[in-house]
């Protein structure tokens, strides 16, 4: 950064008048995007922790259950290695695990006063939260890429190649928006780190196990199949799996008139976008309420 020559630093205490300019909306987004990326790099612990559990799942599940599950794979997924079957599910698990930490950043900001400091600045408030969300989304995308690379190293194959991999990242990011919104809502409501982490993590395992993530639904009890039909994780995993295989894999819903990959992707993306809009809307209402009343 350059220093203008005309500054009058007469004494250490001199206060140079500053011509104030107001930022553009995108400028405000960028400022906050940079801040949250900086904080993520400063805090690699969070990055690592949200990767560790999915990696353990990936390795343990494929080694322990691989042989058993491969025998149950039928239809479009028949004959696949369990690594290939599981990789999209782990990608979605990473999206969840990373997104639930979003609220923690918000709780910290409320606790250390930065939330109010940002509110009293002239920055556009929507841009502030957009910048933070984009930083988290970038991080989640990078984490999904890491999981995909690891899966391939373990023997999975992304049948659709690079385009499929980009598609999986896109589905993961789309799904993470709902969870990030949920985590931020918990953060505003509880104003407490532990409650936010526990609240969001509590949901992670039931949602993952009661879906098409780990084992084909046909082999599971009827009540799980019924629950899986309503479980957004099923749509996220099936969407990611369709991207990975280039095939129609959805079993919980049958939209007429659609064939091939679209038969899976259209309902999956619709459900994920709908959920993101609903949970995102709730988070926005809660956040703007918190912004307009004093944060003690």
């Amino acid at each position: 950064m350059s220093t203008p020559p005309e500054t009058e630093a007469t004494s250490s205490a001199s206060i140079t008048p500053v011509e104030r300019s107001s930022n553009s909306f995108l400028g405000d987004v960028w400022v906050n995007y940079k801040r949250w990326n900086l904080k993520a790099v400063r805090n690699p612990f969070v990055l690592v922790v949200s990767l560790v559990q999915p990696v353990i799942f990936l390795v343990l599940f494929t080694q322990v259950f691989g042989g058993v599950v491969e025998g149950t794979l039928r239809g479009p997924v028949g004959g696949l290695s369990y690594e290939t079957y599981l990789a999209p599910a782990i990608a979605i698990q990473v999206a969840i695990a990373a997104a639930v930490t979003s609220g923690i950043g918000l709780v910290n900001d409320i606790e250390n006063g930065m939330f109010e400091k940002v509110l009293v600045s002239p920055m556009n408030r929507t841009a502030v939260f957009l910048g933070k969300t984009l930083a988290e989304v970038s991080r989640i995308a990078a984490q999904i890429v890491i999981i995909l690379l690891l899966s391939v190293a373990l023997g999975a194959s992304v049948v659709t190649g690079l385009a499929g991999a980009v598609g999986i990242v896109a589905i993961g990011v789309l799904f993470s928006i709902s969870f990030a919104a949920f985590s931020n809502s918990l953060a505003v409501l509880t104003r407490d780190q532990e409650s936010t982490i526990i609240g969001a993590n509590l949901l992670q395992f039931p949602l993952l196990f009661l879906s098409s993530a780990f084992i084909p639904l046909e082999t599971l009890p009827g009540w799980i199949q019924a629950f899986a039909t309503l479980n957004p994780v099923t749509y996220a995993v099936d969407g990611a799996r369709a991207m990975m295989l280039g095939q129609d894999v959805i079993t919980v819903i049958d939209l007429p008139g659609l064939t091939g990959v679209a038969h899976t992707l259209v309902p999956a993306v619709t459900v994920l976008v709908g959920l993101a809009v609903v949970l995102g809307g709730i988070a926005v209402v809660l956040l703007s309420r918190a912004s307009s009343s004093a944060v003690a």
């Binding site: 206060i15 500053v18 930022n23 400028g27 250390n112 400091k117 600045s121 009343s293």
Partner: protein, 344 residues
Amino acid sequence: MSPARDRADGTMTQLAVAAEGVELTYADGTRAVAGVDLEVPRGEFFGFLGPNGAGKTTTIKTMASLLSPTAGQLEINGFDVTESPRKVRQSIGYMAQETSVDPEMTAEENLRFACEAYGVPRGERQTRIDELLDLVDLAEVADKRSEGFSGGMMKRLDAATALVHAPPLVFLDEPTTGLDPKARNRLWAYFRELNAAGTTVFLTTQYLEEADQLCERLSVIVGGRIVATGSPEELKREVGGEILDIELSADQAARDRAIAVVEESTLFEPDATIEETPTGISVTSRQARERGPDLLVALRDAGHEVVGFNVRAPTLDDVFLAITGEELAAGPAAAGEAAVEAEQ
């Protein structure tokens, strides 16, 4: 810095704060600000003095556009807080009561973020950051994460981040609460320099000494209302004279008899006030100094043992007592005595 800045519509305003009937009632019905009328001219060092829960913080947050007034008119630097909150935010610095810094970022990064948030032009940022780090004596720890800073250092960094855009008006909400005397004195020096450079400073405090030392003018606020406004000297004059404190080695009954002696002596004007204190009695009178010796003699003749005495000018604590009839929660203690937590 010019004393008045151009308003958006081209006219000028000489008032940093113009409040008329400002009220703030929270959703739960609590009326934290109950009709505040106030004018603070540009360049003034102004203070809000009041006990905990008097409405100081709520009022200052309303002025900083963090809360919307539920009634009344409020203009900051000529901008209406409800209609143009963003213009208000551009033209003020605000330092919250709770120290606000990002502990994961270094001192310099905290300042850089503030520069960016306030739109300080890219080419001026580094100069500005260096200048402010010097101002608050943090240049040596510029690259250290602020999580390791002492309470006083964090407070100074917080103050610096509120100044990045050289705002013509700065709100400081109890800036020295929780600081040790040394850290407090350093902050006071910065605030004085800031004001000397033309910045309007609006400070809240529950420390009388702080208001007395720093403020050109102040308002006493109790129960969300302003009960008195004036310079510290004007307010002290309202107390009505000087104060003669007499220390007696005696019990309650003896203090009552001593008060009777003062009343019967007719040494002081009729509106002089006589009060019991924990250690004796005190007399507030315009003739406290001249007639004091006579009173001491009268007390001795009446059989009282005077252990000590002192004639003093009224403090703002006396002002507060005279206006509200109650002591400030913190008592007459200096700011630093209540603070132990921060080490610097």
